[in-house]
């Protein structure tokens, strides 16, 4: 290796690469990694948005963990926030009030952390929708898809536990409901709930410590493993692509290499996610727990809601009629089970089983690296839109009380409307989606024929001269 090229930036890189390769033999791997191809479409970046939100969560969460106290031991508040002075509260709640009022940049980081959690799950949902409606879950990517669904379920749990650690009035009510839902699981619910809570609600002393260790260690570790497996499989299978030109096929990938093309774009997206999250963290107040006050089992407030990603569950719990399924004195199915366990079970069961169901029904067991546009798979799009409508309507039902306060539409009337609409609207929306796909496809065929006819006419005109 000549030292004559050792001048300037190129020389530094060469020296660095030589150092690495001589000590680990990884130059071939590094070259492959640098030239790893990314097919280019904006919707392929949604998963990255979720990943970067996760990075922000870990960074801000680590900071918060250095100030939080995971104890329910009752203390009296004597801090700077006047409306809470002299009030009894847990040490956990007091530590979060302390972070929000006294620690410099504490409130900024706490709010950024909470916004990041909301955005993390929103990004995952958008990403899952893209995966579903383009058929990216087909062979060989079923395992990647199932790992991704697991990440979503774990993320929902992690967010719920995270905001419940604060022990404020709103999240405390949410924990009580979580306990009620756990209790409602047939046969084993009560046993499972007392196992987790170490006794009946509100649980014994270790419970908050358990939530804390789960939230800062166990679940993040699990998420890290799942994410590594997910990204690893994506890399091994290479990313799917749309057929935007004649070059893309199931055998040939067309994409942008990681370096130099993709790296600044991905880094830019990372910085944009950080920017949006910190802007929100500073400018938009989220979960002002000092206003809610501490939680007690005998206290509650009107208008308590879970964070948005559990809104579908509160909607289900509210519209469900009061059916406890009792068999000879044995309460087989307590009411919260229908909305709190069965409903999400059906949704995730549908999502998880869909790759298997679809290929059984269509008879398509082949490998797919080229994506469908939604219009290319009318049945999938229609069924997916139907399920989405079902979930979204139930989600809206959860806010019917606010709608009554704002728009003066009777709450009970809304509940009855939703009870019917959640079965009728999905069928209508699915039907419309199907027709739209068919019409779009037909339009493309006509357009193609028209272009071909024009070309032939132009050739004929040129030939006759």
């Amino acid at each position: 290796m000549g030292r004559e090229d050792a001048k300037g930036a190129a020389g530094v890189i060469r020296k660095l690469v030589r150092f690495l390769d001589q000590r680990s033999g990884t130059a071939p791997l590094l070259r492959k990694t640098l030239r790893y191809l990314f097919p280019d479409h904006w919707s392929f970046l949604l998963g990255e948005v979720a990943l970067y939100a996760f990075v922000v969560l870990v960074a801000t969460g680590t900071y918060l963990a250095l100030f939080y106290t995971d104890s329910t031991h009752q203390v009296v508040y004597h801090g700077p926030y006047a409306p809470l002075r002299g009030q009894e509260m847990s040490q956990a709640y007091r530590s979060v009030v302390y972070i929000s009022t006294t620690v410099k940049a504490g409130l900024l980081i706490r709010q950024t952390h909470h916004w990041a959690a909301d955005v993390f799950i929103a990004a995952i949902v958008l990403h899952v929708l893209r995966i579903f409606f383009t058929g990216a879950y087909r062979k060989p990517r079923e395992v990647t898809y199932w790992i991704g669904l697991s990440i979503l379920v774990v993320a929902l749990l992690e967010g719920y536990i995270g905001y419940s650690l604060v022990d404020d009035l709103l999240s405390g009510m949410g924990l009580a409901i979580g306990y009620g839902v756990a209790l409602s699981i047939p046969f084993v619910g009560a046993n499972l709930a007392t196992l987790i809570w170490d006794g009946p609600f509100p649980g014994a002393q270790p419970f908050f410590g358990r939530m804390y260790i789960a939230h800062v260690f166990l679940i993040p570790a699990l998420l890290a493993v799942l994410l590594t497996a997910h990204l690893g499989l994506v890399a091994l299978n290479h990313h799917t692509q749309f057929k935007s030109t004649r070059r893309e096929t199931d055998r040939k990938l067309v994409g942008v290499p990681l370096f130099p093309g993709q790296a600044p774009r991905s880094l830019g997206l990372f910085m944009a996610v950080c920017g949006v999250l910190f802007l929100l963290g500073g400018l938009a107040q989220i979960n002002p727990i000092w206003l809610w006050g501490p939680y007690h089992t005998y206290s509650s407030t009107n208008g308590a809601q879970p964070d948005w990603y559990l809104g579908w569950l509160i909607g289900a719990l509210r519209i469900m009629p009061g059916w406890d399924l009792v068999v000879d004195g044995y309460t087989l199915v307590p009411n919260p089970f229908w909305g709190g366990v069965l409903f999400p079970g059906i949704v995730f069961g549908f999502l998880a089983s869909w790759p298997l169901v679809e290929r059984r029904v269509t008879g398509d067991f082949g490998y797919h690296n080229v994506l469908d546009r939604p219009r290319d798979a009318p049945w999938r799009t229609a069924i997916g839109m139907g399920m989405l409508t079902w979930v979204v309507l139930i989600f809206f039902a959860g806010a019917a009380d606010r709608v009554d306060v704002f728009f003066d539409i009777s709450y009970t009337a809304q509940i009855w409307f939703y009870r019917g609409a959640i079965w009728i609207f999905p069928a209508i929306v699915g039907g419309i989606a199907y027709r739209v796909c068919i019409e779009l496809q037909r339009g493309e065929v006509i357009e193609r024929d028209r272009k071909q006819a024009e070309q032939e006419a132009a050739v004929a005109a040129a030939g006759s001269r």
Binding site: D40, H41, W42, S43, F44, L45, V49, Y81, A82, P83, L84, G86, Q87, S100, T101, L107, Q111, W115, D118, V119, A122, A123, L126, L169, L170, S244, R265, G268, L269, A272, V273, V276, L277, L280, L283, A284, Q285, I286, N287, P288, W290, L291, W292, G293, S299, S300, T301, N302, G303, Q305, D307, W308, G311, D401, R402, D404, V405, Y411, T412, E444
Partner: protein, 257 residues
């Protein structure tokens, strides 16, 4: 000396009797207004118009025809109740049979005073309260508000829902109106006497409600103090929308094939 005393007594007598005369004039004015706006539901002399064939507590009557002319007795409700219902615009009732709501007051100040004087004359009742929220304790106010009020009115007094009614947000209420509502228990609100909530405790509650109109929003844009619902709207319509836009700038869009 005696003449001065006699003169003073005569003047006092004259003042009282002229005040009494003025008051009688006000009450007469109020009676006229009452006859115009309130008699059909509250009956002559405010004795109330009740149903004759229904049992009490059977639930709301919804047929318009039956509802015409159905209202509680006002004898003994005092100036307190009249002041509350008239100054908030709860009365005259906009839609008979439904919950009274805050609405534009169409009576002049003088007309309201006249009606208050008339209703107060219908029987001995509580006078208009004079709460002193500046003497209240904010922390005690939050605690009492959580215990007695937050279940319906929401912890930050932003209003809420109870089956069959809409407890309103309290941002437009004056200290006097809050005190009055607590003592009346309008529509389906509980009625808190001084035994349940003393005047000093009421001062603290009002201090808290006044604080809740502009509470500590050190975190930024308060989103109405409603919690996760507006937070979710911001997540989707601001954050997710912005980030999807960034993705569309970075990545390619599909052209029609």
């Amino acid at each position: 000396m005696r003449r001065t005393l006699l003169l003073a007594a005569a003047l006092a007598l004259a003042a009282t009797s002229s005040a009494a005369a003025a008051n009688r004039g006000l009450i007469q004015e109020g009676k006229t207004l009452f006859g115009r706006d309130c008699l059909s539901c509250h009956g002559a002399n405010g004795s109330g118009v009740g149903p004759t064939s229904r049992t009490i507590g059977a639930g709301p009557l919804r047929e318009q025809g039956v509802l015409k002319g159905l209202g509680p007795s006002l004898q003994g409700v005092g100036a307190l109740a009249a002041d509350f219902y008239l100054r908030t615009g709860y009365m005259p009732l906009q839609h008979v049979g439904l919950q009274p709501r805050r609405s534009r007051v169409q009576l002049s100040d003088r007309q309201i005073e006249a009606l208050i004087a008339y209703v107060a004359s219908l029987g001995k009742g509580p006078s208009i309260p004079t709460p002193q929220p500046q003497r209240g304790n904010l922390a005690q106010g939050l605690h009492l508000f959580t215990d007695h009020c937050a279940g319906c009115h929401q912890i930050a007094a932003e209003g809420g829902y109870v089956t069959g009614a809409v407890p309103p947000p309290l941002e437009d209420d004056s200290a006097t109106q809050i005190a009055e509502a607590v003592r009346i228990g309008p529509y389906v609100m509980p009625r808190f006497t001084t035994k349940a909530i003393s005047n000093r405790q009421l001062d603290s509650i009002i201090a808290y409600v006044q604080y809740a109109k502009h509470p500590d929003d050190r975190g930024g844009w308060a989103l109405g103090h409603l919690g996760p619902v507006p937070e979710g709207l911001v997540t989707w319509f601001i954050a997710a929308a912005a980030l999807v836009a960034v993705c569309m700038v970075i990545g390619k869009r599909l052209k029609a094939t």
